[in-house]
């Protein structure tokens, strides 16, 4: 069977660049098209290779220094303290550094695992919501309808506002479960993309979540405001999520 989609569509799908309707359409096609399945597998494998290889090359300290000097900013912390010469100082410093490195590695890896698990859950919840009939439990563009709807269903009231005039109209809200807890999910649309904003009371500092990233072609942003934790997920551009974040928590 020859494939009715162009060979690039699967890339658009993988990168989360298809609109919701087309994405669903393609998913249906994918179930039957071994050609697209093989291509998708190849792209996924390549992405994992990129992630493992870590080819990102950030600016070196030397470059940063040069640029700062050039644009007339004084570099922070460039004044070096007098060098320490006593040997015991080096020994103590070495031990401290080793201990600190191990502790950090342990904490970071635990944090990353946590963050990985929660972001995977959040993205899954968003993807699930895109299936027909799962998007919203209360469908309304009126914040005064959506907000009271949560009353009594959760042990907190999420902040709900409509940002139509800024290009993020409110679509509705629903209940979801993240990390074993009930959370509120607000749905906004951005051009043809849908954005889920999950809200729950912050239980521990940072919730083990990073500030944002991309996974499976979805972008996500997480932040804290007041005593609430927000996590926005969408196939919309990361810049759009940042804009929405600025609207919700100015």
């Amino acid at each position: 069977m020859s494939c009715e989609f162009s060979s690039t569509t699967v890339h658009g799908y993988f990168d989360g660049e298809l609109d919701a309707a087309r994405s669903v359409e393609f998913e249906r096609h994918l179930e039957q098209c071994s050609e697209c399945q093989a291509t998708l597998e190849g792209i996924e494998s390549l992405r994992r290779t990129f992630q493992r290889s870590n080819l990102y090359e950030p600016a070196s300290d030397a470059l940063r220094e040069r640029v700062m000097k050039n644009v007339g900013l004084s570099s922070i912390g460039s004044a070096r303290p007098a060098p320490y010469t006593r040997p015991w100082f080096f020994a103590a410093a070495a031990i401290l550094l080793t201990v600190a490195a191990f502790a950090t590695a342990f904490l970071v890896s635990r944090r990353q695992r946590n963050s990985y698990r929660i972001t995977a859950e959040v993205i899954d919840a968003h993807v699930r919501s895109l299936q027909p009939g799962h998007l919203t439990d209360v469908q309304s563009t009126d914040q005064h309808t959506v907000k009271p709807w949560f009353d009594g269903k959760l042990d907190f009231i999420p902040p709900v506002a409509d940002y139509s005039k800024d290009g993020f109209p409110l679509v509705g809200g629903r209940l979801d479960v993240i990390d074993g807890h009930d959370v509120a999910a607000l749905v906004y649309s951005r051009r043809k993309h849908l954005i889920s904003v999950f809200v729950w009371p912050e239980r521990q500092q940072g919730e083990g979540l990073g500030r944002g990233g991309a996974r499976q072609g979805y972008n996500w942003r997480s932040w804290q405001s007041g005593d609430m934790r927000f996590c926005a997920v969408s196939d919309a551009a990361a810049a759009d999520l940042d804009q929405l974040k600025a609207l919700i928590s100015p």
Binding site: A38, L55, A59, S60, A237
Partner: protein, 161 residues
């Protein structure tokens, strides 16, 4: 603008395939960005800066290594292979192989891959930075990924035999 210095350095490093040259170009591009900051009318600051960096890289390539810009994709079609790069590669060589494969891509394909896979840009942002229409971004990315996958599988198979 300094928050995006890492992005600028990374893009230039992969476009010029050389750290020393790329640092000179980035420094110059950052100066230009500061000078032209008045022309920035809000929006995506990273895309705006990367656009300047990218143009500086191309100007530099035109002057110093014009032959590199002449390389385009060959149109030859290859039989699709079923092996994924992962099944053949061992972790130790993987990174080096990916680096070689990425650097062997034509500049215009390489930048799209770097922006997508390393910089996590959307197609729209890539279009903004490179001046390509979104459709071209998608087709370039598709071909570049296919090429990378082929290079990775064949180089891994060669080393294994």
């Amino acid at each position: 603008m300094l928050p995006h210095l890492d992005s600028a350095a990374n893009l230039a490093r992969w476009l010029l395939r050389n750290r020393a040259d790329s640092e000179d170009v980035v420094q110059e591009a950052m100066l230009r960005a500061y000078k032209f900051f008045a022309t920035f009318h809000g929006g995506d600051a990273r895309a705006w800066l990367l656009q300047i960096v990218r143009n500086s890289c191309y100007t530099w390539l035109e002057k110093n290594r014009p032959s590199e810009l002449a390389t385009e994709f060959d149109e030859e079609m290859h039989k699709p292979q079923t092996a994924t790069p992962e099944t053949l590669a061992t972790q130790a060589d993987e990174r080096r192989r990916l680096m070689v494969a990425l650097e062997s891509l034509p500049a215009r394909a390489r930048e799209v891959v770097v922006l997508r896979e390393l910089e996590d840009c959307s197609y729209k942002e890539i279009g903004e930075i490179t001046g390509m229409p979104i459709g071209t971004v998608m087709s370039t990315l598709a071909r570049a990924r296919e090429r990378l996958r082929r290079t990775l599988t064949s180089s891994a198979a060669k080393e294994a035999s």
